[in-house]
Symmetry: C2
Subunit: 784 residues, 2 copies
Amino acid sequence: KKINKVCCSSSQTLHSHWSNYIMSNGGGVVSSTTHLLDFLEEPIPGVGTYDDFHTIDWVREKCKDRERHRKINAKKKESAWEFTKSLYDAWSGWLVVTLTGLASGALAGLIDIAADWLNDIKEGICLNAMWFNHEQCCWGSNETTFAERDKCPQWKSWAGLILGQEEGPGSYIMNYFMYIYWALSFAFLAVLLVKVFAPYACGSGIPEIKTILSGFIIRGYLGKWTLLIKTVTLVLAVASGLSLGKEGPLVHVACCCGNIFSYLFPKYSKNEAKKREVLSAASAAGVSVAFGAPIGGVLFSLEEVSYYFPLKTLWRSFFAALVAAFVLRSINPFGNSRLVLFYVEYHTPWYLFELIPFILLGVFGGLWGAFFIKANIAWCRRRKSTRFGKYPVLEVIFVAAITAVVAFPNPYTRQNTSELIKELFTDCGPLESSQLCQYRSQMNGSKAFVDASPNKPAGPGVYAAMWQLCLALIFKIIMTIFTFGLKVPAGLFIPSMAIGAIAGRIVGIAVEQLAYYHHDWLVFREWCEVGTDCITPGLYAMVGAAACLGGVTRMTVSLVVIVFELTGGLEYIVPLMAAVMTSKWVGDAFGREGIYEAHIRLNGYPFLDAKEEFTHTTLAREVMRPQRSDPPLAVLTQDDLTVEELQGIINETSYNGFPVIVSKESQRLVGFALRRDITIAIENARRKQEGILLTSRVYFTQHAPTLPADSPRPLKLRSILDMSPFTVTDHTPMEIVVDIFRKLGLRQCLVTHNGRLLGIITKKDILRHMAQMANQDPDNIMFN
Amino acid sequence: KKINKVCCSSSQTLHSHWSNYIMSNGGGVVSSTTHLLDFLEEPIPGVGTYDDFHTIDWVREKCKDRERHRKINAKKKESAWEFTKSLYDAWSGWLVVTLTGLASGALAGLIDIAADWLNDIKEGICLNAMWFNHEQCCWGSNETTFAERDKCPQWKSWAGLILGQEEGPGSYIMNYFMYIYWALSFAFLAVLLVKVFAPYACGSGIPEIKTILSGFIIRGYLGKWTLLIKTVTLVLAVASGLSLGKEGPLVHVACCCGNIFSYLFPKYSKNEAKKREVLSAASAAGVSVAFGAPIGGVLFSLEEVSYYFPLKTLWRSFFAALVAAFVLRSINPFGNSRLVLFYVEYHTPWYLFELIPFILLGVFGGLWGAFFIKANIAWCRRRKSTRFGKYPVLEVIFVAAITAVVAFPNPYTRQNTSELIKELFTDCGPLESSQLCQYRSQMNGSKAFVDASPNKPAGPGVYAAMWQLCLALIFKIIMTIFTFGLKVPAGLFIPSMAIGAIAGRIVGIAVEQLAYYHHDWLVFREWCEVGTDCITPGLYAMVGAAACLGGVTRMTVSLVVIVFELTGGLEYIVPLMAAVMTSKWVGDAFGREGIYEAHIRLNGYPFLDAKEEFTHTTLAREVMRPQRSDPPLAVLTQDDLTVEELQGIINETSYNGFPVIVSKESQRLVGFALRRDITIAIENARRKQEGILLTSRVYFTQHAPTLPADSPRPLKLRSILDMSPFTVTDHTPMEIVVDIFRKLGLRQCLVTHNGRLLGIITKKDILRHMAQMANQDPDNIMFN
């Protein structure tokens, strides 16, 4: 049996292997007579590409790639050179993810180091070497004892440098002033760079990346300018002390790397579906370096951002995540040979009764998430709709000023948020000098260096820290709402985790003190004897951080795995799971969207969420266009239009494509032609083919229709006809239609009734319908 | 706008909300006049269920579930009782995975303990307490020194018990004889139980579970008898010393648990698609307890066995895997508070040059995998096709006898394979008494308890061990080929890992000695100075094990994560990845199928692999039935058949379903009716509805056709008509059709040309076509 050589969907040139095949059971003539091959028809340049802010057709892209692959495979045996090219092609996928991993790791390391240094500039400067941060500056110092490792003569605070004195109210005010000055400078520089050079560099980027991965074109969003400006401004934004993190933007940075490297390989640069495979891997690498969690990164890419995630991509994502992690580790930005600042290891087990506070933390996380999403979206909507959104620079400076003024007096808000999280996560060991660890027995001068750290009554340091932490919590909650959405790169992971960690640590210390003073209570009696270490407040902080992050993003498995990779042991997974599950359920009770989906909807991107179930009972005929009140469906007939009529139809309507039917009477569907392709094809024909006039007949059939003798040369457009359009019947439940759109990545689908064309459903129609069903504004969906 | 209440696909009772809607652009009448609702039509019992060995329709099952969910949601507000029921329904998913996790963990612990005990029975017995295994027996003994912890007076070998002496050739022969006796007894008992009570309990079960999860019905495969017999015979099979493992069958055991518990919840028991979600979670739990790797288990379920894996399932799988792991850990079957026997922690880093031996181990793994698959499939095919397959009991006894006779003299084959793997994985520390660790410096009587263990010259013990390991390698390779496929429960993970671990340890010791004797070579000079510990032979064993397992199963990410969870640190992922990738590529060069896919094909199950790309250029019209030489397509017309004619069509053909068309002349498609549903509906109507005769007219339309006055009462079958059948055009490339079948889980799809019905493509047609394209026997696919 001869296998026919056909191109895929867009240009079918079938060498029909049985001619005049007549259906024996009904007489429908299927295929016309054998015809000459039109292999020589050149592909029209431009056909098969997409406009900016349009949705791609996954099926067509995947077909194009398979066609490319077949061509290379067929040529492979021709020569050694072709064979080498095919090998290069086969390896290019691995090459591009390796490069992406290397670049993401290196950039993450760079950003970490630069942000650390710039952050310390706010407080002072290293006299020996300007480019050292506070910690590095004091490493070389011989004079510092262990307890006072932060104070060394090489490191001068601004007051010390300008006024010549480190203590006293004057120097405090001087330091305060310099802190605000630097914070405002950094914030101003960041927003200016974003506004002037790369407006796409603002925000966390994850909502847009989700949309792009689901098959949407936003040109320049992952370009080199965005990458450059985002990298620089991310450092500035973090250093400015705003309530934001660098973890989300790192995913954007990694995706930019993936996109830029994919331009080196035609396999990826010319195919939007394949490019998205690279981007999925890149986002895994981004999370991998953000949290030092390669497996968590892969699961994040799978669960949160990716849309089309074949197993091959899973494998490559894993590889990219590992490469990135190892590059970052060899850069060693934190000097602890770990990938993140807040890596911790706990050694004490947890007890069953502790599940109650853990679940309470989950409830808090869920409530915080729901509140944050509602408040932040309301604020962002206000910014979009009122005049006040026209002054992004002023807004950033205003928020930065408030943040700096309020943050400085409180040590927990003054310090870097990552460092705060680290301090909250870390358990009080004998070597810990933090205020949070000033328990009374230590202050009594009793044996200072004990191996275990049993529960002790809190000292005045702990009480002071509790108050400061409560204030920090309120401050962080308020500022984060106003910060996320500013026109600077701003991640949400770190502020959310900080809020959760503060709440968790407070709860942890409370439970610890409860257990100390009431060790005879039933719940404590069994596990918490006096002198034993039964409560680990650091673990509470970690559980709280996971719960709050879960409440905001509604991540599940990936979040647990990311936090699991931060700790040593498997056994803390159960508290984490309990809190994350509770947080998700509580959050979902107030609204099923995570912050990223909410921002996608706010921006009107055409994103069909794979997680949201469509549960309504509507049918395809109720969603399709035209409805009863609409003008009739714009269709093309297969062989009786002229070029002029065709151009008329195109000019009068704004549809992206037109169904082609046999004739107006039968309404039987032949295929589907895209507007862009028709325009390009007509232009191309009028330029290159002689004798094509406005009165030329256009035909989509295999053979030219019989025309009067004096008519001009007809125009054949079969090559741009998609002869396998997706169809559903008008009785198909919308739940199935939505499923088809999601799983196959369609852009449109035709609706028939008993074989006759009735209407069309596009992705936008579906999104509008879903918005309508959810009592939301259906006109919010803006792009097609 | 009123939302219509419709049932899903199988019974459309649409309350058409605009009557007489006429397409304004062509005049095709779409919907007939407003009609009475036939809500009161009872659902016909049996419609919507499946026969044994048939493929399910995922789309229909998912629709059924959403319909169920809507009903419960609508009732929820009626009463407190209904609200409780809806809550129970919402929680039943979590409940069923929790129960599955608990049961899988408990059963895994039971199997571990029982297999351990029974395995030691082959060698001797504990005099104090019969139910102790060797290790437990000697725990209580005071007399044993650390070095001779295996020899204690309570534990008597059979020779010691029967002959009264532990040493000498007579007792050796006695022990040899008893070893063979017990091995044969266990093997005989195992095969007898399987043959008599539960034939489905044999093998690893993973190929069948993959097929079931892809949407196939095998009744009883996951039933309680299979569970019971598989659990018992698995213990016996492992104890019999055959070259098999319990890890694969544990997945089957967990899936049985999942299936049995799903019968407690109508949400899962009555819906084949939902049941498969539970089974996906169960298989994750199975791997989780088999390897102590919860995350690896989830990824295994995702990568290797599952077909439909929504994110909700990911989350529940993770939960089930965790629960199972924690139950197993609290049972603590190995006494090391770990989930597996061969958990190890390495402390020395690896060096870049070591990637060369690691990649070589990958090549070995790939070659072994390809060879094993080819040889095992050839042998299994021989067993299927010749008379010799008729004597499974004899075959098992024969293989068990050879295994026992050859295995006993070699200590590395005599011991339990898991223990062998543990010994090979473990690095030589100062406390290690194994023969593998008899390096020369230790024998010289120098300082015995040193913390680090620098590379040392090998002593005679190591050389002897190398020879024995080489013999063990050959033995395992040969026996595993003949063992996998026997009629006893038999997993492949452990034998494959053992082969890889032996090869890896041999390579590791070779490299170590090379580095010791040639430390001035360029590759060693930089890293391996004398007296440093630069080569870890245990790591080589682990890398080899992963490579061999990868070669046989072609797993990638899940395998790396499983092995990663066995070791302590992230840094050994790179060697593992290098080896597993090499192994997969080398294996794929010889044939892209893993052992499970090969067994699926051998058994002719209708499994459409999601991993295999369809790269041919055929069109739907070349695959659809009828082809030119076939009889015409069996179709039903919508309103002019009688019951007798309909029964005639059903009896004459063996198709599973029939397209319904408007009329023979127009060939326009109305819907699709399943054979099983038609048969049930006619039977039901003739029993319950009066006046239905053989001459009654059958109609699928909304309204009865106009009939002569004297004709009998017509039979309306609209409720069993699927009015939204999937259609593709005859020009659709098969790559798209295959994609649709895979992603949506279709059973059949109709082929049209310009709106007229041409033919039908079923899953079986696609599998046949794929086999044909790959030059395989297309008649191998047996089920529909």
